[in-house]
Subunit: 198 residues, 2 copies
DNA sequence: GCGATTAGTTGCCATTTGGCAAGAATCTTC
DNA sequence: GAAGATTCTTGCCAAATGGCAACTAATCGC
């Protein structure tokens, strides 16, 4: 279990790696984050409300998902320790979210609200560059994912996820992983069988 | 044909609609944009180089595309008048682009370099909010596209594109539209035939 | 620890999409 | 305007994925 100060120090690490800035600045920023805990199944964000917490996760795993008109849920992302968790569109545009963010297991982290974050962005040019960098990184990841969805087979995407994000498989049921990969749980099951027989 | 001042005035419109700010501020910004013309087939950006122009397109259509390892090209986006054109990851992270941006026809617009844009972002808080808003909007669009790629059939995506972006069909060959939709030109042809017979 | 729920697998078959190659239509280019 | 290139369509068949239902395995709640 991490103490609050350990959590803040992890955040300082994370910030300075993403965008170089004086340690003092990063830790002043980290001071403004408050602890946030979630039980398994708890929601950080529910569809229809406005994402108002920029969460730095230190323990546990979460997933984002959207509901389709016919009542299926599609996993749009997984989040693990040392990652920022929030719904960009809702958070920055202050509009109701189309997505949900839910804890897959008990989670811990530290968070900051939109108002405080914005205040810091305006006061600290380097921190604002950090913020932009986070956005750009997210965009970039989504672009690669989109490209691989179009160009690669489901099997290749599965193997890729297994390699780059093995922890997910410990914590998320296969059906949510299947929807993340853009296939049904049935197909994922068959793909796994196929691979096992090699 | 648009004069430079007409182009700048369109940009002022675009900026103030995306994020409210004093007209004077928006037109000061627009003054820093210089004219840029491209012939059909010309590249605004080539894979391997750094996107250094933030282009506001006023005439013509362009497309972004990536090459797959096996030599196919996948259209990742279309760009038309009154849109900003640049490759986000390369532009903001100052790293070589994985994508190309090419004019589908003769194009005109006004552009600004990374250095000047950044200067303006730091000097003008409202304009920097505008910049963030553009990023967030792009992200948001990509997310919807990703979701529809996963949840909808190719036919539904085709019809959707036809409805929301009919101009593209006037200017881009079907094979580039097919790759944008995540299918082959063969399949798109069949889908069109299918729809025609209704 | 046990019944009830949820998750995962499998068989059967349908649908969607792709690969390839040939032909038709369209557009360049000189 | 004719030769050549490119784009689009189509037929044939294969591969990938989905839908449904039954069955098994794992997990949860008390």
């Amino acid at each position: 279990m991490n103490s609050l100060s350990q959590e803040r120090s992890k955040l300082v690490d994370f910030i300075t790696k993403a965008y170089p800035m004086p340690l003092k600045m990063a830790s002043d920023v980290a001071e403004r984050f408050y602890p946030l805990r979630l039980g398994k199944g708890d929601f950080l964000l529910k569809e229809g409300s406005i994402s108002n917490e920029y969460l730095f996760l230190t323990e546990g795993y979460m997933r984002s998902f959207a509901m389709t008109p016919d009542g299926n849920d599609i996993t749009t992302g997984f989040h693990g320790p040392q990652q920022l968790v929030f719904e960009i569109t809702s958070f920055f545009h202050r509009i109701p979210s189309h997505e949900n963010i839910q804890a897959l297991m008990p989670c811990a982290g530290i968070a900051i609200t939109y108002a405080t974050l914005n205040e810091l962005f305006h006061a600290l040019p380097e921190f604002r560059e950090f913020g932009r960098s986070i956005l750009v990184r997210g965009f970039s990841n989504l672009k690669s994912r989109m490209l691989s969805t179009i160009t690669e087979t489901a099997e290749a995407r599965y193997l890729q996820l297994l390699q780059t994000n093995p922890d997910i498989f410990q914590h998320a049921p296969l059906r949510t992983i299947a929807s993340y990969l853009g296939i049904t749980d049935t197909s994922l099951s068959r793909i796994r069988k196929e691979i096992a027989g090699k």
